[in-house]
Amino acid sequence: MGSFFDTHLLSIIVAAPFVAAVLLLMVDDDARLTIRWISLVGSLVSLGGSIQLAAKYQLSRGGLQFAERYPLVPSFGIDLSLAADGWSVSLLLLTGIIITTGVLASWTVSHRGREFFILLLVLVAGVFGVFVSQDLFVFFLFYEIAVLPMYLLIGIWGSRGKVEARGPFAFVWKRFDIGGREYAAMKLTLMLLVGSAAILVVIFAMYFAAGGKTFDLGVLGAARYPREMQLWAFPLLWLGFGSLAGVFPFHTWSPDGHAAAPTAVSMLHAGVLMKLGAFGVIRVGMLLLPDGAAWWAPYVGGIAVINVLYGAVSAMSQKDLKYVIAYSSVSHMGVVMLGAATMTVDGWNGAVYQMFAHGMMTGLFFALVGLVYERAHTRWVPAMGGFAAKMPGVAAFFVLAGLSSLGLPGLAGFVAEFLVFVGAWQSKHWWWALPGIIGAWVTAVYVLRAAKMIFFGDGPAQEFHDLKDARRTEWGALWALGACLILFGSYPRLILDFIHLATNEYLPKLSSAMQLAQLP
């Protein structure tokens, strides 16, 4: 292993899925096994690279490591500049795990499989790129790449959610085919791009305010922006990135989108893509616009509280299994934003750890939901029951994911939520911890109830005659994600050390802004 691999590690991680996608373009459409293996190898290279990165990252030195820089548009100061900090390390690892298990979980996709894997890999290359970009413009580029393939992925391979048209506006449901995959794909794309439009304006504002020479995140971060500008720019970034993170009331694309998307896409989208939004709010919004962030923090936290409670209550009232999990994502992303808004060490550690833990957990959830849907041909929870008799493995993993979701100590979800609540308690708004804890309690109600209704009790009914447990590659996906939940839940330092390092470096930038900010 020469030094080439070390100096170009980040490029390799980002480029591997993309190269695999290009290779797939040349493969024949019918060579299904080849297509799957190329996709799997592409994701494994990225996963291996991420593990290598975690192993080689020097915790004692900290800061940005493995930096690479290639000029892209020199006249505007746009560079393809990559580097990893502690947060990147943990989120790259998450992305690597999710894409690998996602490919394993969609091993059986046969309808236009080649295009499916091409789009999936392009999307994930964008995700990897966002986490390591050190140039704001390239950050935005990768962000767009990660968002856009969703339209085709959901529109072509998605499924129809079961939505009941009720109430005075029932005609709207029928008119727009709400719950349909094309509706969901269009809604998701347009809503997320409205967010991008807001982000673009702020990027320009920062670029020109910092001298109009470079988009380098370090340079833009060192510049002091006028307070007035920060006060209008931060909410634009918060809502822009926040719409991808499912911030209330811009979360409505998420249940529809996740419910309509095919398994691997739901896994990636809920598991990783929503984290891009939260990562953007913290990495770009809070770190580059500290004054604005400090002033707006109470609102960010307040909305996050709504997210936690509203998401949980909505999940409780859903009857379509995918909608249950999708709303639980909205609730859990609220925890991430809550942690970010506390602006304390524990809060931020918890926020990033929650991104990591929720990614694993929701990835596992959507993999399981996909399995259940494939075998039962329905996602209507009230119709199910007693599935555990036919698919004990799936039932066991569902309960495991559920326990992590409700924050059982020893599983990854607990560590994250505990840190966030501690952070909230230390912040100026100690009471934020209370709705958070209530949200965790409601989670317990709907997760356990869903598990009971699907897997236990009477049944399975006659119509579910071909229920089978997971198969070979699917076992791989389930075991990998389940093992991660237990591993990172019982020994959080594996990841927390990286996160803590970066938090400690970045948070002091906000301390002076915090003192300046007046409570509204």
Partner: protein, 483 residues
């Protein structure tokens, strides 16, 4: 008296004129049924001229400053020549199939129109502007009617309407421009742009300015002068529409830039609000009118109106950055929009209008054509890694730098509105089901090559925009400082 030195900046345009005459002579010598080669000859000549522009030095002033050869003019020439070559290549099969007896004239008129386009960006005199505009516009009106009665599929019914609308509108706009110019000349006593810039401001001159700019806005098809666009696009032969939708627009912008930023440069504040009005109206009307369209040609026509609005943002900025990025936008738009129309030609040759359903299941009938169409509409919508993204981004940057930050937000939001109807095309291509009688498509080699060239342009400029942006910036610098 013009001297031989006067001809140096015009060498490319003169060669283009000779090419037209060459095509004309060859046409005379060819027997009936053997004229298909004329299209290839035209494309070859234009491609050759495109290469020639890189090797000849066409700098300097001609005719006492009525024409100035600058990198700005040269770059516009390249865009026009490249567009013309692709247009000729894409038209070969269509023209040969539908108008076998009238092939020579088609290419001859195309070349004459192109001559007007290549001459205009360097023009610095009002008379020269009018002459170039007419040289460009009249052949286009004739070409729009080309699908006359000898078309068996019924396109001919729409051709007369297409041609007449284009002709009447272009005649009316010329009349308005000339009327405005008579005021300008009357108040300043000169037709040279520099002379007009030096003259003092007066109310009548202001009226002249407004009328002149309104006339030009007709030519580019900006709102509220856009009503001819959809009908003409629908009725005219598709390969010709591919050219019509980009060539005159590019040239119109060269003229608008020269008139607003050179002749009337002292009045940019007042004219700015006029241009701003055109920008906002074009983007809003173009995008909203495109939403309900069921015919792809009409949809692209309205989307073109919106694109004009975005291009005009570069003009609004008025800076070197703005003009450079306008030029880059135009270059990208030529490749993108021509490509999109040529794909339509490959799908439904010879028919007036292409209903959206015709695109259903295109990915299955021809995977590469489907991918090409996807990339073209993504580029029109401004999605990363195809040229349209950089184009929009750079004009946004220019208007932001010019202090109009809200326009960026407005433009970006309207781009998302546009995504709705562009995605309708993508949806039809990738998610629609082809009906039973729609069989796999085979595209003729010439048309495939033309689409391929557009695709290469869209992808290369999208993946590696730096060299194109640099040369567009340099060209814009030469616009302000010809020496």
């Amino acid at each position: 008296m013009p001297t031989a030195a006067d001809l140096k900046p015009l060498v490319v345009d003169l060669l283009l004129l000779f090419s037209a005459l060459l095509v004309f002579s060859v046409d005379l010598g060819l027997p009936h049924g053997r004229k298909r080669g004329l299209g290839f000859l035209t494309a070859l000549l234009l491609a050759g001229l495109f290469i020639v522009t890189f090797f000849v030095d066409a700098s300097g002033a001609a005719f006492s400053g009525a024409y100035v050869g600058t990198p700005w003019a040269t770059l516009f020439k390249r865009v026009a020549l490249a567009g013309g070559a692709i247009a000729a290549l894409g038209a070969v099969d269509h023209v040969d199939r539908h108008y076998p007896a009238r092939q020579g004239e088609y290419y001859l008129l195309l070349l004459f129109s192109l001559t007007g386009m290549t001459l205009l960006p360097g023009a610095r005199d009002l008379v020269m502007f009018v002459v170039c505009f007419e040289l460009m516009g009249l052949p286009l009106a004739m070409l729009a009617t080309w699908a006359k009665t000898d078309d068996k599929q019924g396109a001919g019914r729409w051709a007369a309407e297409a041609g007449l609308k284009l002709y009447l509108v272009s005649a009316a706009s010329t009349a308005i421009t000339l009327f405005g110019l008579s005021f300008v000349f009357g108040m300043t006593g000169t037709t040279s742009l520099a002379g007009i810039a030096a003259a003092p401001m007066s109310p009548l001159l202001a009226v002249g300015m407004m009328l002149t700019i309104a006339g030009m806005a007709f030519k580019v098809g900006a709102v509220p002068f856009h009503l001819w666009v959809p009908d003409t696009y629908q009725g005219a032969p598709t390969p010709f529409v591919a050219f019509l939708s980009v060539g005159p627009k590019a040239t119109g912008f060269a003229a608008l830039a020269a008139i607003i930023l050179i002749a009337f440069k002292g009045n940019q504040a007042q004219l700015g609000s006029l241009v701003l009005l055109l920008v906002v109206a074009s983007i809003v009307v173009g995008n909203l009118m495109a939403l309900p369209q069921k015919d792809v040609k009409r949809m692209l026509a309205f989307s073109g109106v919106a694109q004009i609005g975005y291009m005009m943002m570069g003009l609004l900025a008025g800076s070197q950055l703005g003009l450079g990025m306008l030029l880059f936008y135009v270059a990208g738009y030529v490749a993108t929009n021509m490509g999109a129309f040529l794909v339509l030609e490959a799908i439904g040759p010879g028919r007036a209008g292409v209903p959206l359903e015709e695109l259903n299941g295109l990915w299955k009938r021809s995977p590469w054509l489907g991918l090409a169409m996807l990339l073209f509409v993504l580029s029109l919508a401004g999605i990363p890694f195809v040229v349209g993204f950089w184009a929009k981004l750079y004009v946004f940057m220019a208007v932001f730098q010019a202090g109009q930050g809200w326009l960026v937000l407005f433009g970006a939001l309207m781009a998302i509105v546009s995504l709705w109807y562009y995605l309708q095309i993508a949806r039809a291509v990738y998610m629609g089901e082809a009906s039973a009688e729609q069989r796999p498509l085979s595209v003729r080699p010439a048309l495939a090559a033309a689409i391929g060239l557009c695709l290469v342009g869209v992808v290369v400029m999208g993946a590696w925009p730096a060299p194109f942006v640099e040369s567009a910036s340099a060209a814009a610098a030469s616009f302000f400082d010809p020496r």
